[in-house]
């Protein structure tokens, strides 16, 4: 995989570096300009970053395995997030608090996540070559099913004990649920005060564990299979790998990780926006990973952490910078939404453009080879 593409072979290393890391470089520049403008103290920034690092990294790690499998960015991770939210709704209904509650939520949501991941895998297998846009639409579609279940099914078909989380009409979950019972239970399990900043060791350990899992997983037989499927479907098939099953498995793992990621995210936030907190899970995770220097074809664990730090620093500072610079905080809000979408658009376009140029070069090469054979025969 270290072989440089035909497109970049002709460029000098500096240009190569600039194009490959255009997104991280650009965001770094924005962040460097925006931090002094925002007037936020370093202490505040670092505290925010520690919180966001522990809150968001897990969800972004969920994107890695489908990329290795050559399926691109998994825009269907909101499916996992929805599974996690259903687990959280149930434990809140039953009133189970603390770490037992968190574990129970994980237990309930895992089978749902497996089911959804399997379904997503089947759908994406039928849409080879356009997995990303299909995954994106699948998340929208599943959002409809989720609303049907949570807004109409819960309390009417699915029994609910706790009427305080139900809408006043007697069925359907409220728009916002307070998660006091599990609020920051994982974060506060082992929390160490370092220089006035509370570091949630347990959460960070969980994230480290997932990183180890991904590193270890790559070395297993299945991990190797996934990698060869990612390089070339046909070659993998000729090696005796069941390409379809491998792809389904990689999406399922991603969905399960996203489910756990969302549970960790929610226990940190401490409240659940029932109907829209999964909307932006996919977009923000993908944008952060791309900001970290990943591409649609290649992403590493270090991309995840660089991405979280850069992307979320921008998230914290841009509304304040917008307010200081132009007198409108709203401007900064829109700006960060623009950066999230723009980064994804730019990276996807760059990836597609390269893919096409490579294909073209390949074709020219074979044409030239054919022509030379003809010439030799003459």
């Amino acid at each position: 995989m270290n072989k440089r593409s035909n497109l970049t072979k002709t460029m000098n290393p500096f240009e190569y570096f600039l194009i490959n890391f255009a997104v991280p470089i650009l965001i770094t520049i924005i962040v460097i300009i925006a931090i002094p403008l925002s007037g936020l103290s370093w202490e505040f920034l670092i505290r925010e970053l520690v919180i966001r690092l522990s809150r968001d990294s897990f969800l972004i790690l969920a994107l890695l395995i489908p990329i290795i499998a050559g399926m691109g960015m998994n825009f269907a991770i909101p499916l996992g997030a929805m599974a996690g939210q259903i687990g959280i709704i149930f434990i809140t209904d039953w009133g189970i608090v603390g770490m037992p509650g968190l574990f129970l939520a994980v237990l309930i949501s895992t089978p749902i996540a497996i089911l959804l991941g399997y379904f997503a895998g089947i759908v994406l297998n039928r849409a080879k070559g356009r997995e990303m846009v299909t995954g994106f639409m699948l998340a929208f579609f599943m959002n409809g099913i989720y609303q049907l279940v949570v807004l109409y099914g819960m309390g009417s078909v699915i029994p609910m004990k706790n009427s305080s989380i139900l809408l006043s009409r007697g069925y359907g979950i409220r728009n916002a649920i307070n998660l006091l019972g599990i609020r920051q239970v994982l974060d506060n399990l082992i929390a160490i005060d370092i220089g006035g900043i509370l570091v949630p060791i347990a959460t960070l350990l969980t994230i480290a564990l997932v990183c180890l899992f991904i590193i270890f997983f790559r070395k297993t037989k299945l991990g190797q299979d996934i990698r060869s499927v990612g390089q070339d479907n046909e070659i993998a098939r000729s090696l005796g790998i069941n390409v379809e099953i491998t792809r389904i498995l990689s999406v399922s793992i991603s969905t399960i990780l996203a489910c756990y990621g969302q549970i960790i995210f929610l226990q940190n936030i401490g409240s659940l926006a029932t109907y829209n907190c999964h909307d932006f899970v996919g977009v923000f995770a993908v944008a952060a990973l791309l900001v970290g220097g990943a591409s649609v074809r290649k992403a590493t664990i270090s991309n995840v952490f660089i991405g979280v730090i850069l992307f979320h620093t921008m998230f914290v500072v841009s509304p304040r910078a917008g307010k200081e610079l132009l007198g409108q905080a709203q401007l900064g809000e829109y700006f960060r939404v623009f950066i999230s979408y723009g980064v994804i658009a730019f990276s996807l376009a760059l990836y597609a453009w390269r893919k096409r140029v490579e294909k073209e070069n390949e074709r020219k090469k074979t044409m030239a080879a054919k022509r030379s054979i003809v010439v030799n025969n003459d």
Binding site: V123, R126, A127, G129, R130, M132, V133, T134, F136, M137, L138, F140, F141, N143, G144, I145, Q147, L148, L151, Y152, L326, Q328, Q330, L331, Y334, F335, V337, F338, Y341, G342, I344, A345, L348, A349, Y351, A352, W353, K355, R356
Partner: protein, 349 residues
């Protein structure tokens, strides 16, 4: 016999049949739940006129092989710019409407050209790139709506605020100028929007005629087999750019006609998800990622708007709930997922 039926179902597509039967069922149910049949039909026709052009705008890009236009927002933004500038100039009636169209088309030509150049660079991945180009252009415009120097007090935030309002009323400017054009009222319940329907028919005819010209035929050739088109000496990139520009221009017109019927211009984040209902309508009409016809546009818009109009009125009177919104999400997005997962059969010709 059984095989024939199966073939017929396969060629029309199962989801489409289910949606059609569902709509028929809704119409049959109307008298029993106390909803007037004629009013419902009239509502469907009005909404058909309002949304038809947006669905039509997807057609040229499918024809040229660029896939479903998930970047429809670019055209919508051009339309919004046109309508806001027309109101800023205090133009009233048909003048205002046509000036809005003119300005919108101007912007759409520029946006469409750049968008077309980009899509030529990313052949094979148009749809996912287009999705995010659309999203990012909407968020850029959010910033623009805030800082562009509009002055008309009817469209900027009151009390010394800066920037445009999120919802601007076009009443008093060019609200219903098309709808009320030769409006035919039959009894108390039916009021046929002649102007809107005529305008839609006129644009549809123009598009149909365009695809009968030499350029139109070349675009179709690029869409059905790009290598063959190239070997015929057609400038494929140019044809694709033309189709993208055409799509963007029609979308810009489409949103102005929509606003004209709706009465409000919605800015900021509201265009964000607008491509999806339009795409779903086209697909329900029988189009696929690589194939579409004018017939698909008309049937699809009618079926989709039919369901959107009928489900709330019928369903709410049966089960007393607003489940129709959820049904809309499931139907429209489910339809798009279904179309994306269908393996395109290679057309033997």
């Amino acid at each position: 016999m059984k095989g024939k039926l199966k073939n017929a179902i396969e060629s029309v597509g199962l989801p489409r049949i289910i949606i059609f039967l569902f709509l028929v069922l809704l119409f049959i149910l109307t008298p029993f739940v106390g909803v007037r049949f004629d009013t419902s039909l009239n509502d469907v026709i009005i909404r058909f006129g309002m949304n038809g052009i947006l669905v039509l705008s997807l057609f040229p890009m499918v024809k040229s092989g660029c896939g479903l236009n998930f970047g429809l927002q670019l055209g919508i933004i051009a339309g919004l710019l046109g309508s806001v500038i027309s109101i800023e100039m205090e133009l009233i009636g048909l003048t205002g409407f046509f000036v809005a169209l003119g300005i919108a088309i101007l912007f759409a030509v520029i946006f469409g050209f750049l968008y077309g150049l980009l899509l030529n660079k990313v052949k094979g991945e148009e749809m996912v790139v287009a999705t995010y180009v659309g999203f990012s252009s909407v968020s850029v415009m959010c910033i623009m709506w805030l800082i562009l120097p509009f002055k008309n007090p009817n469209i900027i935030w009151p009390y010394g605020g800066t920037g445009l309002r999120t919802t601007i009323s076009n009443q008093g400017y060019w609200f219903h100028v098309l709808t009320d054009f030769f409006r035919i009222n039959i009894g108390n319940y039916i009021s046929f929007p002649t102007g809107t329907i005529l305008f839609f028919a006129f644009l549809t005819f123009l598009v149909w005629a365009f695809f009968r010209t030499k350029i139109g035929a070349s675009i179709t050739a690029v869409g059905s087999n790009i290598d063959y088109a190239k070997s015929c000496g057609i400038n494929t990139d140019r044809m694709r750019t033309i189709s993208v520009m055409l799509s963007t221009i029609i979308a810009a017109i489409g949103i102005i006609v929509f606003e004209e019927g709706f009465g409000f211009i919605q800015l900021y984040l509201s265009p964000l998800y607008m491509p999806f209902p339009a795409i779903a309508a086209l697909l329900i009409g029988g189009a696929s990622v690589g194939k579409a016809s004018i017939k698909n546009v008309i049937i699809g818009t009618f079926l989709f708007q039919g369901i959107l109009t009928m489900t709330p009125s019928v369903l709410n009177s049966i089960i007393q709930s607003e489940m129709s919104e959820v049904i809309r999400i499931i139907v429209s997005n489910g339809m798009i997922v279904y179309a994306l997962t269908r393996i395109e059969r290679i057309r033997l010709r």
